[in-house]
Each structure stands twice: as C-alpha cells, then as structure tokens.
Symmetry: C2
Subunit: 329 residues, 2 copies
DNA sequence: TTGAAAGCGCTAACAT
DNA sequence: ATGTTAGCGCTTTCAA
C-alpha cells in the first residue's frame, strides 16, 4: 500500500506539463493526439487515479448532493433507491448521512456540511422549520415527503389529503360506511392525512362515522391501535403500510377475516405492501417522480435557475390489492 | 448564498492566526483558554464549518471508513446504527454507500474508492471472494456478517451454526421432536445455519426428523415456505426474523396458534422480533460487539497494527420471547 | 502560546 | 498545442 501516483508523476513520466495531463485526464480538448496517447499510457503504467478531493477543492465545487434519511424507515429506503437513479446522469453524486437512534438530524446534517455538499435533500425531516430555514441560509435545502411552510426551503411532497380522499372514496364505493382512520400522530404528513380523511368522510355524507384512533409509524403502533377497532367497523385506513401490517396481524390473530370482516388500506405502497402474503391495498407515493423532482430542484437551485413554485405536490394514486372488498352483507 | 466562511475568515474575525484556529477547531492542545473562546465565538458567529476536503488533502489522509450496505436489509440498518456508535470516538468518519436494486456492489464500492476511504467495511457482500481479494489489494477490507475464506480480507461474523444449535436445543428441551428448518437459500450464513441445524438435531438424537424447507430472506419467502409445513410439525427454526414474520403470518391466517400448535424461532433479533405483537423468540447477533470489532479491525489495519486472527467469530445468544413453548400434549 | 510560510494534488488563468 | 504560475482551504513545519 505505497503512495499513490500524482498528476505530477504522470507528467514527468510522459515528459509533458501537468496542464496537459490535467486536460487529457478530463477529456477536454486542447492536446494533440500524440500527447494524449503518451499521457494515457503513462497514467495506465503508473496506475494513476485522479484525487477527487484535490480536484474539487481547486475547482471550488464538490458536485455532491447531501441526503439525510432515516435508516429505520422502509419508505426512505425506497426514496434513496430512487434518488440514486435520479442522480445518475446529472454529474452529481449522492452523499448519504443516516439518522439513527443514536445520531440525530443535526449530526447527520453537520457531516454533510463538512463534506461541502452543494445542496441538501432531507427525507421527512423532524427538524423544526426554523432550523431548516437556518440551514437554507447556507445552501439549498429540498425537503422530501414532508410539508414545510417556511419560504426558504423547497418542498417535494405527496398530496397526502388527496391520498386519503382516494382511500375513503374507494371504500365508500365498495359500500363501507363505518370507516375508521388510524393516524400517524405527529409524524410528517399525519395531520394532512387526518384532514383528508375527515373531508372525504364528510364529502361522502358519512361524517357522523368519523373516528380517528391514535396510531403511529410502526407495526407496534398499528397493533395497539387495532385493538381499539370496534366490532361494527367494516373498514380501516391506516397512516402507513408499516403500521397497517401491525393492524393486519392483530386482525388475523383475533380471527377477523380481511377483507371479509374488515377492509384495510395502507399508505406508501412500500415493499411491504407488495408482498404476496400481505397484498395490501394502499396509496402509492410516486418515489421515482418525487426523487427526480428533488434532484432536479436541488440542481436548479445550485445553478441559480429560476424556480416557478417552491413547493411541488405530486398526486398519489390508489393501488387496489387484496385487503379491500365489499362489507359483509 | 454567499461564499462559505473559511478558516482565514474566522482567524481575521477573531484576530488570531490561522494556525490557532486550526488547532482550536481540531480540539488540539496549544491554545490559551481565552484564544479558544474567541475562536469558537467567531466560528459560531460566522457559521464556520471546516472543509473536510482541504483538511484531508493537506493531511494526506481521509480518515474515512467506507461502509457498503444493502438499503433494503433491516439487519444492515441495525449494523449501520451500531457502526456509527462504534466509530464515534475513533477519529474516523463513516462514508455510507448503499446497494440498491439499481446500484450494485461494484458501483457502491467504486464511489468509496474515489473518496479515498482508508478502509472498507462491507455488510454481507455478494461479491465473490476473488473480487474481494482484488479490493483488499488496494485497501483493508473488513467483511461483516458473512464468512469469506480468502486470506486477504478480515471477517467479523456470528457463529451461525452455534446459533442454530441453541435454537434447536431450546426447542428440544421444551419437548419438541419434529423440528423443521426453513433455510436462507444462498444467502450469506445460510449454509452454516443449515449445518448447525443438522448437527444439533443429530446431537439431540432426533436426526430422523431433520427436514429443511427452502426459504429465503424475505417475508414472502417465509410465507411460501410456511405452506409446506406439515400438520405433525411442532416447531420451526427460520433463517431470519424477516422470513419468520412471513411464517407467523401464514400460521395466523390458517388458524394455527403460536406457540400452542407451532413454536417458531427466528434469527437476528432485529427490530421486527422485538415488536410486542410479534414477540419472536430469536437468535441475537450482537450488532454492538460486531460493529465495534469491525471498526477496530479496520483501524488496526490502517495503522498497520499486528492482528492475531484474521477472522473473529462472535457467539450469538438465544432470546426467548413468546413464540416458543412446549408442544401440545 | 502564537504566527509565518510552505505545501497537499489539482485546475484555471495566463503566457508562449 | 503546450508550459508557467497561482492559488483552492487547510495542516504542518518551524521560528518567535
């Protein structure tokens, strides 16, 4: 593991100046074919790889997009996957920084700032708006999958209220009246999903059956909430797929048939929902579109390009699978 | 978005030299308390964050440990969480690079090499031994949660066979005889777990009941395998918790009581197993210890410290929860 | 305890 | 088409 060769080594080996080597290595025009060949030969012979740190330091840019995500969040995994694809052809790289039980958002963010990321993409951040605004004063910040009122950050999110509207409408069309919502507490998006649920119930003329059971983000939250579901309830809309899985589990254990006795609708269309044995009807957030928009927005901000609207709301869509059906006659 | 403040800006603002600022920012001794305070105040006021590229370029080191992990793997999430804690006080930072459905290990690795990571920690890599050896020729490679015979890479893993031994013994002591194993196919560790299962069954004198059903890593694999479980089977050991969840789900749906009719043991003690409504008896891999060992080994290799044994095997331990009990009389 | 000066490996101006 | 000269922002001598 000896010292790596530098550009100067290559220059010496090829008998040309550093500038020429620099040009050739970047594939820029301005060097003769003969020189080009000599340089590439030398580089190959020495096993030379440019040092990106030095390169970026000099050019004053990092071409790095920082991504802050929750490592325990299945949905974030889907988004990160999509973000990698979205970044692929842009000339920017992703720098991942995870939020874990022992590493908060501030720490995750600080790491990315040190790496001189040119913009930050934050997935469902918990940081209060004021904190985000402070960050946004330093570099472009794009918040994904959470609404933020603050004017200084960009937001790409799903029309959460609309999503619950679709869920309720789907159930109502099937004939359900007693539709309960298990919510996400204070999680990002939870308030809007509650709002959408209420509005849709009222719009369907079944506002008197509105009932919201406190839930959360995890299977466990869903399991606890499921025990509160009354016997006359025929359908449940749940904050997210993970929570819905907990609900399904408790229903199965107590012998309730799904969708025979109770229909269930999740949210996210995460990996979980697609599993054959779960086969969960759910509201899909379009991760591919959202990720593409987030990356594009970050780059636009970096380039100082004009941006028409600070917040982009992506419509969700209903994915009907096996956990919804007509109520028992 | 004006230019980020540099160390020189802070120095000017605090009325001291760049050297002092450098010392203070790194927490090195050699500056008076008064100076230290002035510098930190100035840094805070300007919102200064050191530029890691410049810092590392100058010092000739990156102090970066590259981590390659599967973003869809719940167990990897646990490991990454533990790795962050383990790295915390070492002076090294983690650089995360995810493997996703659209981004293979080679790509994930290449990114980390460009960033000049000083060592690589790979979680359950799929790369064949030859590929790992090639990598290891360039920088220290520590493989976590997978066995690799190749002499050139370090390995930190759980004694998988021992884990299944404990699972089988636990069930046998409860009185089970007809114990089935749902395996992990070609996943890292699967072969050794199969071996452990067989050995333990033989050791218990119930080798004639050995039966292995092909499974996999996911809930879905577990669900499919569960349908193959015969009516006389009283207990199942499953490749991992995620797969076990699928098994539990199918059992619940077909009305089998757990542990009344069938006992189930998982593997990993992941988040999943601990959920109150899952409450899965499982074999715990000690992520804290494994992560600490992995980080320490990487640093030892970087420092050229002598290493006694290339491979470290961490003993797993049984965590008894609610999915195991005596067989029905 | 403090400061001045010399680079790390590279790219961007400016020569030639 | 090629070479020379400055730095990027920081750490590291070395002197004071």
């Amino acid at each position: 593991m000896e010292n790596r060769p530098t550009l100067a080594d290559v220059a010496a080996h090829a008998g040309v100046s550093k500038s020429l080597v620099s040009l050739v290595m970047r594939g820029e025009p301005g060097a003769s074919a003969e020189t080009r060949r000599r340089v590439l030969d030398a580089a190959g012979a020495l096993g030379y790889h440019p040092d990106s740190r030095a390169r970026l330091l000099r050019s004053g840019r990092s071409r790095l997009l920082g991504v802050v995500f929750g490592i325990q969040h299945a949905f974030h995994a889907d988004l990160v996957t999509a973000l990698y694809s979205a970044a692929r052809e842009t000339g920017y790289e992703l720098a991942l920084s995870a939020v874990t039980p022992g590493r908060d958002e501030a720490e995750a963010t600080a790491g990315l700032l040190q790496d001189r990321c040119e913009a930050l993409i934050m997935l469902g951040p918990q940081t209060p708006a004021a904190g985000l605004a402070r960050l946004a004063a330093r570099l472009p910040v794009v918040v994904l999958a959470r609404g933020v009122r603050d004017e200084s950050v960009d937001v790409i999110r799903t029309a959460d209220a609309e999503g619950l509207h679709q869920a309720v409408d789907h159930l109502a069309v099937l004939g359900h009246r007693r539709i309960v919502h298990i919510d996400g507490g204070r999680a990002p998006g939870a308030a809007e999903r509650r709002r959408g649920y209420r509005a849709a119930m009222n719009a369907q003329g079944i506002g008197r059956h509105i009932r919201i059971i406190p839930g959360g983000l995890t299977e466990e939250d869903g399991a606890i909430a499921a025990r509160e579901i009354g016997g006359d309830t025929t359908a449940v809309t749940v904050f997210n797929d993970r929570c819905a899985t907990g609900v399904l589990d408790v229903l199965a254990r107590r012998g309730d048939k799904v969708p025979g006795d109770v229909s269930v609708v999740g949210y996210d269309d995460s990996h979980l929902a697609r599993l054959a044995h779960v086969d969960l009807t759910t509201i899909a957030q379009d991760t591919a579109v959202m990720s593409r928009l987030a990356v594009q927005r970050a780059i636009d901000r970096i380039d100082g390009a004009p941006v028409a609207q600070r917040a982009v709301v992506v419509p969700p869509h209903l994915v009907v699978r096996g956990t919804t059906g007509p109520p028992r006659a």
